[in-house]
């Protein structure tokens, strides 16, 4: 054991301007992440629209633990561990469905109400005089007590220790507001299914890359050159198919990405593209803009629609795009294995075209067949291999490092500043340290 009982060794892995390769390679650190880091931070579970009706459930694995989000009879949402109190069988093994008025374990028919309370056990008299009622097994399902539903986005903190929800996310929550407010009715629903990718790399590589504005020119050169070649010779004002509208901006230069600007917040969160982004120039939709003005007032409508950041990172499990209305969910599976999900949203009261944009973008950029993602995935997997080399155990994050950044939490800066990544690692070190105090 190199790290478990040596907090100073973990702290030494994150220097001001670089990080050690063990963050990506060490299986011991991954186990400690599951135990500490992913337990104390707030993780995205799912969207309320995935479970619209009482008895609906959505099950998933969160930091190695089986959990399920359940719609209650009174309309509330609760999140439980997906584990029978008796012997540990999962209560549901389908990803989603409706359980009716109660959960019934398929093994010995122990039943539970939707709120997790124990309902019935066969051969009840056999438990008379035993200690069942006084122990965990007699108390029904274990609920994740630290659950927060923010404008239908559901998050949990697995551990009792750690910051409160608002304290943890702070101002970055504005990125969810921006996405939801793009619905004139203030309501989103997931739609069109979820694209799932399995990548043989550490989860941090994916999350860093969401904030990496210097890679598109070289990483995506083949895709953008092909798009340019097919599109060249057309009049600048020729109507672009949606796919071209979405792919061509990937070829923007360093200057574009630098000037889009970025902002970091405490606890690893960030917004990239505070000034503009590759999503800023999608075709205008006059009817929709009118609906937005009617819903929000002219000034607020402009404010919402003009804000199209590239990516807003809800460290460490979620990345949000307000336009197109799409999110990516980061699910670390092992030190060298990561699941990425891409979800599309429909905005109530907005034209179907916005939903089509979300699906189209996810399909073009985040599908297992995406010509854009192929080169990203190749490079993530290549780094996972390359880091095993000797002679240099460090990953450089020096670009635009300024010692004064260490004293501040919210900083607005240029879009190519690696501060957006350094900020993630500083949060990582903070939540990996042993012995955090429990908070409400």
């Amino acid at each position: 054991m190199t790290y478990r009982d040596r907090p100073e060794a973990i702290a030494a892995l994150v220097q001001d301007d670089r990080v050690h390769r063990d963050l990506y390679l060490s299986e011991e650190l991954f186990a400690l992440e599951q135990e500490r880091f992913f337990a104390r931070t707030w993780l995205y579970v799912g969207h309320a629209s995935q479970v619209p009706t009482a008895g609906d459930f959505w099950s998933l694995e969160l930091a190695g633990r089986p959990v399920m989000m359940v719609r209650q009879a009174d309309g509330a949402l609760r999140v439980f561990y997906n584990r029978c109190a008796h012997k540990g069988s999962r209560l549901v093994s389908d990803e989603c469905g409706n359980t009716g008025k109660f959960f019934r374990c398929p093994y010995h028919a122990w039943t539970y109400k939707l709120d997790g309370a124990p309902l019935a056990i066969p051969l009840k008299s056999g438990y008379e005089g035993t200690r069942l009622k006084e122990c965990e097994s007699g108390r029904g399902l274990t609920e994740l007590k630290h659950t927060a539903v923010y404008r239908d986005f559901v998050f949990v903190r697995l551990a009792d220790e750690g910051p409160g929800f608002e304290e943890f996310f702070g101002e970055v929550l504005g990125a969810i507001d921006n996405m939801v407010d793009r619905s004139p009715e203030g309501r989103l629903t997931v739609g069109g299914g979820v694209l799932r990718n399995i990548i043989h790399c550490n989860w941090k590589m994916y999350l860093e890359n969401i904030n990496d504005t210097v890679h598109p020119m070289s990483t995506h050169e083949s895709a953008t050159q092909a798009a340019d070649a097919l599109w060249q010779g057309r009049a600048p004002d020729a109507p672009k198919p949606m796919a071209m509208e979405q792919i061509l901006p990937f070829g923007s230069g360093y200057d574009f990405f630098d000037k889009m600007g970025g902002r970091v917040f405490a606890n690893g969160h960030s917004v990239l593209g505070v000034n503009f982004s590759i999503h800023s120039n999608y075709a205008q939709l006059p009817d929709y803009e009118e609906a937005m003005r009617n819903a929000h007032g002219a000034e607020r409508a402009i404010e919402i629609l003009q804000r199209s950041p590239q990516n807003s990172v809800f460290f460490p499990s979620l990345s949000v795009k307000g336009s197109p209305q799409a999110i990516r969910v980061i699910r670390p599976l092992a030190a060298n294995l990561t699941l990425i999900e891409a979800w599309s949203f429909r905005a109530a009261g907005a034209p179907e075209l916005l939903f089509e944009r979300a699906m189209s973008y996810n399909r073009l950029v985040f599908s297992p067949m995406s010509v854009v993602a192929h080169d990203d995935v190749h490079l993530f997997e290549s780094m996972q291999q390359g880091l095993r080399a000797e002679g240099n155990e460090w990953i450089s994050l020096h670009r635009n490092f300024d010692p004064s950044e260490l004293q501040q939490s919210t900083i607005t800066t240029n879009g190519t500043n690696e501060l957006l990544m350094r900020n993630q690692f500083r949060a990582w070190a903070k939540y990996m340290a042993p012995g955090m105090e429990a908070q409400a």
């Binding site: 069109g192 399995i198 050169e221 083949s222 092909a226 097919l230 796919a243 599908s367 297992p368 995935v377």
Partner: protein, 155 residues
């Protein structure tokens, strides 16, 4: 050429890496479609797809593969389609269309990695003066909705 033979020849072009020749098999309005719900999916609009591409997007994919800086093609991917015999599901003399169903195994290898996919191809072919053309090639994967690694070539 019998439509069943056309299907076999189409897959052989892909496995030989002759992507320009393959693209030329598509009708002007032709589409390549890998639905996210596999065989259960009704249409490419109401639900998302792993791929839904017209000739322009297919051409983009093929142009990229020719670029020496298509990093994910170092080392290069190779494919092998293993097709069951195609079965004609419907023929429409009026439109000149024929629908074929072809169960398949698809292997894509790259370096040390090998990917195995299974499912059914559904071709909508249209008769032209030059022979058959693909109006739609639909690839219904068994596990389309589950996590997949990168699929770099054409199933």
């Amino acid at each position: 050429m019998a439509p069943e033979d056309f299907i076999a020849a189409e897959a052989a072009l892909l496995d030989a890496g002759r992507f320009d020749d393959w693209l030329a098999l598509f009708a002007e309005d032709g589409h390549y479609w890998v639905p996210l719900q596999g065989a259960a999916q009704a249409d490419p609009v109401s639900h998302n797809s792993i791929a839904y591409e017209d000739r322009l997007l297919l051409a983009l994919r093929i142009e990229r593969l020719k670029n020496p800086r298509a990093h994910s093609q170092h080392p290069a991917s190779h494919s092998q389609h293993v097709l069951q015999r195609s079965r004609i599901e419907r023929e429409d003399d009026g439109s000149g269309e024929v629908l074929l169903h072809t169960p398949f195994l698809y292997v894509e290898s790259r370096g040390e990695q090998q990917l195995l996919l299974a499912g059914s191809l559904r071709h909508r072919l249209v008769r032209t003066v030059a022979g058959w053309a693909i109006r739609q090639k639909r690839v219904d994967l068994l596990n389309a909705g589950r996590a997949l690694p990168a699929i770099q070539l054409f199933i």
